[in-house]
Symmetry: C2
């Protein structure tokens, strides 16, 4: 066993070293343009201020939760004798989860804010160096996030020797991610929406025109929302998938417990190794495009992962059934990604149709995006359904169950999720690349680097948008599978706590009650986040108007008229900090309320309803948002009337609607689902004992 911990920790260490190398490499790249250095500093300062204030609030929150855990979980202190071994251990695991997640987000932010200016300046020299800086900057975060996850899980399991306590670690990661994602998401879209509406729509100036007081806040938002928030989010998904597989592994028969635990650690480590190699190979080939470079390194990583795990299965005598599930998960992930790409890539017909609809006015843009967004959920739902069903069938033969335990098929599903998330370091690199080059585009414009550099930065940015859609499909799919196995985890926990569940029957009205409430929660949660953006953005629009009205010459672009960037950053910061707690809290409290009302059966239903409607809504919102964004870009590229046409105005409105869909609510739902599942598992013993109708 020890050797497996060793290997995991070793590969995590390699990841950190490689991240350090890339960090130094990025830092060595020249940054000479005075204006860019100045603006990059403003962005960095804004991001740091926001993160410091956000983390202060979250530290208080995490402290309260840690105390509650120490008092009540896994069993209330008056009902257990293992206060130190369990309650305190879990509280510490929880804190470690929050801290690692916070660090991963923060480090990602640091390197992103180093890379953006350098990538912009490199764009003046050509697309290849600019791409490499953007991508490698993103990779630093990818490697740190996944390295921390692998390291954290391995060390925690080694120290605690009880996978159940990892639920605390995972909950720490998730609860931080929930608020970081929500807070960052509200910040970024507040600024983006307000900047677009006042700049592009009202004044008809370019996206990153320095006259616009919201332009720095917009760039800060890219960093705190898309980089730091997303890092925390994928750290959480990864940890949750691994934890859930480990908890289920623990419930198998005899020797299979250790073998399965080895498998989980080994698969996670090999996924990270495959990603390291994949990241290393990523570059634009002769005649290649940025999209091509990002995609081909994703495929290389996937192929390596399959080969590595096959070799490990052969050498260590792992189950080939599980290898099958994991490979299936990865393949389905790629398929979901491709389906997402079909709905959001501007070289494909759907984006063109949406852009064409814009000619008839904004209402048609919105209707068309909503419709295709709904349609786009189908392939992913089928993909998740098929991979769960097939994984279960692969591992669910009578023989295997008799040999390894009744939970073996569920272990298969959880390993499909691990497989889908195996290349997550690569995914994060792709994903963080997006906001870095988005920033770079803005800096190139503000630094006056000329048309060519802006065009190159635009091309890099557009590739970022496309790939972002693909990686989002991936992470939503993996969250779906993870949460299915967390449902199994919840059931195991309930039974371990003396409950008597054999399943959750839809026809049981208590389960049904839970299902309906659970299904409503992601809608309520998204609504609260979108309203927060809506409200904040209105405040920021008012602030921008105030500046235009009171600062002489600002609107006309006089050299001496300086916008007050910091005021806008302050509006976004204050607003998003005020709004980030309630939505997440509603989801957590609703879970607890359902548990106390209906007991474990209702909670099982609640989790199901939550997963189902959560998947549907997050796919819908992420894809519709990506579709609108790219169809706006398609119009701006000169189609359907091009920039300044009525179609363009309509497309901008579509994009504005899509902004909080795809960058605030959509991706946060993912985390919301995971958090709720973990809360349910953690509180299972309490729900078994205390409930009204169960």
């Amino acid at each position: 066993m020890t050797i497996f911990y060793g290997i995991s920790i070793l590969i995590a260490a390699i990841a950190f070293l490689f991240a350090a190398y890339l960090y130094v490499w990025v830092k060595k790249q020249p940054q000479e343009n005075k204006r860019i250095t100045e603006v990059a500093l403003l962005i960095r300062q804004g991001a740091n201020t926001f993160m410091a204030r956000e983390y202060k609030i979250l530290a208080v929150f995490a402290g309260v939760i840690a105390i509650l855990i120490a008092l009540f979980l896994p069993n209330p202190i008056w009902a257990t004798e293992k206060i130190f071994e369990e309650n305190i251990a879990m509280a510490i695991a929880y804190i470690c989860g929050t801290v690692l997640s916070a660090i991963a987000g923060k480090l990602g932010l640091v390197v992103a804010s180093l890379s953006n200016g350098r990538s912009a300046e490199a764009a003046a020299k050509g697309i290849k160096p600019a791409f490499l800086i953007g991508f490698r900057g993103g990779s630093v975060m990818g490697l740190i996030v996944v390295g921390s996850a692998v390291l954290g899980i391995s060390v925690a399991l080694w120290a605690l020797q009880d996978a159940t306590l990892l639920l605390g670690f995972s909950f720490g990661a998730s609860s931080l991610a929930l608020f970081a994602k929500a807070g960052g998401g509200i910040f970024t879209k507040t600024a983006d929406v307000a900047a677009d509406l006042t700049g592009k729509v009202e004044l008809g100036i370019a996206e990153d025109d320095p006259r616009n007081p919201a332009v720095i806040a917009d760039n800060v938002g890219d960093n705190v929302g898309d980089v730091a928030g997303m890092g925390a989010d994928l750290f959480d998904s990864n940890v949750a998938a691994l934890t859930s597989a480990l908890v289920i592994a623990q419930s198998l028969f005899g020797g299979m417990v250790e073998l399965s635990t080895k498998m989980v650690l080994c698969y996670a480590a090999l996924g990270l190794l495959a990603s390291i190699i994949g990241i290393f190979t990523a570059r634009i080939t002769k005649n290649g495009t940025p999209t091509g470079a990002l995609n081909s390194s994703t495929y290389v990583t996937s192929a390596l992962f399959m080969a590595f795990t096959a070799a490990a299965t052969y050498l260590c005598d792992f189950s080939w059934h599980i290898w099958g599930c994991s490979t299936l998960g990865l393949v389905v992930g790629v398929v979901i990604g491709l389906a997402t790409d079909y709905f959001t890539d501007d070289s494909k017909p759907i984006v063109k149709k949406c852009a064409h609809a814009s000619k008839s006015g904004p209402a048609f843009t919105v209707l068309s995006g909503v419709s295709y967004g709904f349609l786009s959920a189908l392939p992913a739902m089928i993909g998740i359904a098929v991979s769960a069903l097939v994984s279960y069938k692969i591992c669910g033969t009578e023989e295997l169950i008799a040999q390894y335990g009744a939970n073996f098929p569920l272990f298969g599903i959880s390993m499909a999720a691990v497989g889908m998330l195996s290349i997550v370091a690569m995914i994060i690199s792709n994903d963080a690349y997006g906001p870095i080059v988005d920033n770079a585009r803005g800096l190139a414009e503000m630094g006056g680097l000329g048309e060519d550099a802006i065009r190159i930065a635009d091309e890099l940015d557009s590739a970022g948008n496309t790939v972002k859609a693909v990686t989002k499909g991936f992470s939503i799919g993996a969250a779906g599978l993870t949460v299915i196995s967390l449902l199994g985890t919840f059931m195991s926990e309930v039974n371990a706590a003396g409950g008597n569940l054999v399943g959750f029957d839809i026809m049981d009205p208590t389960v049904f009650f839970g299902i309906l409430i659970g299904a409503a929660i992601p809608a309520v949660f998204s609504a609260m986040l979108i309203l927060a953006v809506d409200k904040n953005a209105q405040r920021m629009v008012a602030e921008i108007h105030r500046q235009f009205d009171t600062i002489p010459g600002l609107k006309e672009g006089r050299e001496d008229a300086k916008p007050e960037y910091d005021k806008c950053i302050d509006v976004a910061t204050t607003g998003s900090l005020r709004e980030l707690i309630p939505a997440g809290l509603v989801a957590i409290l609703a879970t607890i309320a359902v548990g106390f009302i209906g007991g474990p059966a209702a909670v099982g239903g609640y989790l199901l309803g939550n997963i189902v409607s959560g998947l549907l809504l997050s796919l819908f919102m992420s894809n519709a948002g990506g579709l609108w964004d790219n169809s706006k870009k398609y119009v701006e590229a000169g189609n359907e009337g091009g920039k300044g046409s009525e179609a363009h105005k309509a497309a901008v409105i579509g994009d504005t609607v899509g902004d909080p869909f795809k960058d605030t609510a959509g991706p946060s739902i993912n985390t919301q689902i995971t958090v709720v599942s973990l809360v349910a598992s953690l509180l299972s013993a309490i729900f078994v004992q205390y409930n009204i109708f169960g």
Copy 2:
């Protein structure tokens, strides 16, 4: 037993007589204005042409289905000896269902197109007579629809003596409703959206300005979509609720079968009787408003129903537990209605907030409506969940189950649905009132009846919008409960066909597979309908532009320039007939595919997923649509800048987005859920025998 059939048929006959009286009363009202008579004739002709073409297509469709039923259902003809008793009987029941549904829609249309012009002329005299004509015109349809449902169910059950065969009758009603609602919904919104965009937004002329070539098509749409389509829809909900209660009643123990059957018939008949009295009492009191009149008659009907059923329970020795469930259903229906009202009424804060958001531009209008739409789903979901849970608990004591059978709690849930739908005749009257006075408003404008008449018509119209939202909440809630009991029906049918189900366990991956696919279907279905509207409306906008460009003087409003109204009607008709089949067919075929792939367990999951996401999406879309519509009206009433302001333009865009949400996709999802559940129950025996993974 016979006396209960007798009573039902008698009350149905009273309803028909009362409807005939109201019809004659409406017809007697004066219609003298030449221009109004002329336009009303155009509307009537357009509606008749559309209905004739639609029914022709649906007749072919129904014929094909009837043949398939005769060949395969409930058992394939090669596997049954009861070809005549079962297969042919069910095919005939199916045809009766379609025919009754079609007749109800058609008659509603006839009287609606008599009432609109008369109500407009009465508006010149005052609000009270105008209201009465609009309401009584709508009531004719309410009475006919519910009378037919009660009559059809009673006669069919009397003749067939087997509630299972009623599933065929119910499927006939639902399948017709599905296509009538979809076809009418696409027609009405195609015309409405195109008319608004070209008229209000582009030219800045009034909603019903006769210069607009789409204006007659818009009025035709109100009739075929909102009147005829909605009539077919509620006929179907009512029949499905009663059928499902009767099928479950049949599965109870011994003497309870007959007693429960009596209960169902009796409750349905008493609901109709209460509605007759409620309709009779509806009028605007001194100092009263139209909304007040509609609401107070709804409350009168509800109170009467409770009193009548209490008396019946006392006299006939029915179960008081069931009375409790039915009353609970009705009360929850009212609560859901009030919650809907809170989100959509323009005297309440939500509509005002959405109107205020419009000041910042259309993107904010859309975001605000989407968010509140999502939030608005929560109370209804809780309401449905609570009424299902509590009904189950009321009827689920060990004693009751031992005495009456394991399905007694399920019977309680189905009777909660019957209770919620008991006042459906009243609901339809309120609902059909809406499009009639909407038409009247247009006719008042086109007939030049003066400012006062238009103002009165406007007030009547606004009450229609508010009440429509309330009644929609009612019918969605009832559909939710009905479908829960249909899930029970499906399980009974599977077991009757030799299946071996004790429930549908979420943890069974086959069930889970079904759940995910089922959840995606309402999204796909809505997307297809919205895209159909989107596509058609773009075609119609092009046709309107063609007329403006080629007919000299039309835009300027020259007396001699006549728009070609019929061309627009033709565009809407052709387009909606082309699009009405595919969406419905996708839902039906997906059910069959899931059944053949995963067997009954997967279908059970599929139905659940379908209900959950269907409820969520239909509540979201109906309420968001109503909210946008009323916030546009609120702005038009002079708030936030009033007519012609930027806020008004934004509000109009929100309203346009909401149009297909609330009048095409939202209400059709209801029917889609019911149809899918009935298909599943009908095909249960086949799924048990033929499937791949089950």
